[in-house]
């Protein structure tokens, strides 16, 4: 490091061959410092970027599966049964636990299926009517078959099925909301 004041007096005052002049050495040092600073700056911004992009790297909102009960409870199912599940929704650093009513029933092949009790017409809670062997919505009279398919009334589609899975002998249900007043099932949120 001899680019000091004493040196500059002799070198900068008179012209010198390119590549050796103080100016060239200084601009080389400048470029080196510039590149070095950009490099270190980029390195330092890595944790900042990872921190800010956390919602892209991981799941920050999550709807957890809830247990609807033991699988064997539903083995001899003859009609839909209502179950209250605890829905856990993770939203960043907080979570909300709410209770939701669902039905466990069987489809035509005899496979277990979970239905939301929210009417696809206008969102009322649909009760099971044992006498009629149908779901009958108390609000506007939409009716649905035991497996949830549409029978009659103002609803444009059948009752909405929920994703299910089996874990440790438990029937796990993933509760979701669906758009009302449309003919195709469409998840909201």
């Amino acid at each position: 490091m001899c680019a000091c004041a004493g040196d500059s007096e002799t070198t900068a005052a008179k012209p010198s061959p390119p590549g050796l002049s103080l100016e060239n050495r200084r601009s080389f040092l400048g470029a080196l410092l510039g590149v070095g600073s950009v490099f270190v700056g980029a390195l330092l911004s890595v944790p900042l970027i990872r921190f800010a992009l956390f919602p892209l790297l991981r799941q920050t909102t999550e709807l957890k599966n809830s247990s609807a009960g033991e699988l064997r409870e539903f083995s001899s199912l003859t009609e839909p049964v209502m179950r209250t599940i605890q829905m856990e929704q993770v939203d960043g650093w907080r979570k909300a636990i709410s209770e939701k009513a669902i039905y466990v029933t069987k489809d035509r092949q005899g496979q277990l299926r979970a239905l939301t009790s929210v009417c696809p017409h206008l969102g009322c809670t649909v009760p099971w009517n044992k006498e009629k062997n149908q779901f009958v919505c108390p609000c506007h009279g939409a009716t649905f078959a035991p497996d949830g398919t549409r029978v009659s009334g103002p609803s444009l589609r059948g009752m909405d099925t929920l994703e299910t899975s089996v874990q440790d002998g438990q029937l796990q249900v993933r509760f979701q909301y669906f758009r009302q007043l449309v003919s195709d099932k469409e998840v909201i949120g």
Binding site: A13, V46, L48, R50, A96
Partner: protein, 489 residues
């Protein structure tokens, strides 16, 4: 010589062509860069002058990390601790950034002290540089205020109790103490208003003052010029100058590199801990301030009763005034430390007193078995809490639902009736309302209980038209249902 001097003060010829030339013509960026880099330093570059740039670097790092931390932080007694736990345990690089911000605060205090000591020992406050010293003293005060206000924000046990002690100490100041303490806390007790106040001070007020003062500090520095070595005149620099760029820049950058490496290693291998959430009812907790406040903490232990005016108010005020007014009190132009025995003696005395008080505080804690045991327990709790995985906070909506079920048994019975009668079909679960019927939440405030029962039994024509059937229930069940509807708030 004249040609060389011209070259030294202006640097290489201004760019005229290309992108850089155009940018410079439009913005004057190159001229600005030259002004920054071609600052003459009398007597040449030295390692002793590196602390100012080091401080600027840490300050910028604190601002950037602070802004990023605010992406997830919430300043309220309910959520502050959860959000800091989220940052530390869940967010990618969160523990590293929080550690960088927290250790950065300590680094800021250390480098400030080094910068201040260098200025003092070199007599660089003398002559034309009074305002530079003055603004520096205020900046140091602001750095300590940042450390104090930032310490509370995680709202863990350590933060809560250290701030309780700190604000109590402010309360010891005669006459204005109580009002000052209440002002700082936002009330007589520490609580969510304290966090709001500390947050606003830490994030808006003090940083704004620091920005303004750093700008004036640098402006005053450039106006007065670098002080140079101890043999230089404090009024008219005579020694041969060397430009700030490149040698001094390289020296400054080497301190910056050291800080980056040091802080980086510290944050990676000894990340900042987070203790359990603040529990004001914990009567066992022994609060200890951060290391840089230990001397003051120890000092305050010696002053009680009537004499406390001397220790809490008079001595600190005299000391602070003496330090701030130093350039006006010490008008001699002598800068060499070995020719300033009084100034150096005073420096050594204050330094040893501060170090001694800090060490004494540590010694006392270590040699009191009860205290040492409790402090060790607190440290272990902190480590344990930091290790535990992150647990999300239960939102208030979930709690309200749980409270109804647990609280009034009549309302709980009403809830089952509400669901069994399919009231929730139209009015929604928890009476939140659906497209078919209005929400029942808060409806009890509009109708007295008698009227509500009447409406249930004999709905109005409008209610009938909307599909509301008359409620036909035994009186006890109706009472329970009304109790439940009333509980929906």
């Amino acid at each position: 010589m004249s040609a060389t001097q011209k070259n030294q003060s202006s640097g290489p010829p201004l760019p005229e062509k290309g992108l850089w030339g155009w940018l410079n013509r439009r913005t004057g960026l190159d001229t600005l860069l030259r002004t920054a880099l071609y600052e003459p330093i009398p007597g040449g570059a030295r390692l002793a002058y590196v602390f100012g740039s080091g401080l600027l670097f840490i300050f910028i790092s604190q601002v950037i990390t602070g802004v990023f931390l605010a992406l997830y932080y919430v300043p309220s007694a309910d959520h502050a601790h959860t959000t800091v736990a989220y940052i530390t345990k869940a967010v990618t690089a969160g523990s590293f950034l929080r550690s960088l911000h927290a250790y950065g605060a300590s680094a800021m205090v250390i480098v400030s002290l080094l910068h201040l000591s260098q200025t003092y020992i070199y007599g660089a406050y003398k002559g034309r540089r009074e305002l530079l010293w003055l603004s520096g003293c205020v900046l140091f005060g602001l750095v300590l205020a940042m450390a104090f206000t930032g310490y509370l924000l995680p709202w863990d046990q350590k933060a809560y109790f250290a701030t309780a002690v700190g604000t109590n100490a402010a309360g010891e100041i005669p006459w204005i103490g109580e009002s000052l303490k209440r002002m700082m806390r936002g009330g007589t007790e520490m609580g969510t208003l304290t966090i709001s106040r500390f947050f606003v001070a830490h994030v808006f007020l003090i940083p704004a003052c620091i920005f303004a003062l750093v700008a004036s500090h640098i402006f005053l520095f450039r106006k007065a010029g670098a002080a140079g070595p101890v043999t230089e005149s404090p009024y008219n620099p005579e020694q041969k100058p060397e430009l700030f760029y490149p040698r001094q820049v390289l020296m400054d950058l080497s301190l910056t590199a050291l800080l980056i490496i040091g802080l980086g290693l510290l944050c990676s291998f000894v990340p900042m801990q987070l203790g359990p959430p603040a529990n004001p009812a914990d009567a066992q907790y022994i609060p200890r301030p951060e290391w840089y406040y230990l001397p003051i903490f120890q000092w305050l232990k010696y002053w009680h009763g009537a004499a406390s005016v001397i220790g809490v108010l008079i001595i600190p005020t005299v000391l602070a005034v003496a330090i701030i007014a130093l350039p006006f009190l010490d008008r001699s132009i002598e800068r060499r430390p070995w020719k300033r025995p009084v100034a150096m003696g005073a420096y050594a005395f204050v330094l040893f007193a501060v170090l001694g008080l800090g060490l004494r505080s540590e010694y006392v804690d270590k040699h009191d078995p009860g205290v040492a045991q409790q402090l060790a327990k607190q440290k272990a709790e902190e480590e344990e809490y930091t290790r535990k995985p992150f647990e999300p906070e239960l939102s208030s909506a979930s709690l309200a639902a749980a409270n109804v079920a647990l609280g009034d048994p009549l309302a709980a019975k009403g809830k089952t009736i509400f669901e069994a009668q399919s009231c929730n079909a139209c009015h929604g679960d928890g009476g939140v309302g659906t497209a078919a019927a209005l929400a029942l939440v808060g409806i009890a405030a509009k109708f007295p209980p008698g009227q509500l029962a009447e409406l249930f039994k004999h709905p109005t024509a409008r209610m009938n038209a909307g599909g509301m059937p008359p409620v036909d229930l035994p009186p006890d069940d109706l009472k329970a249902l009304i109790a439940y509807v009333e509980s929906l708030k």
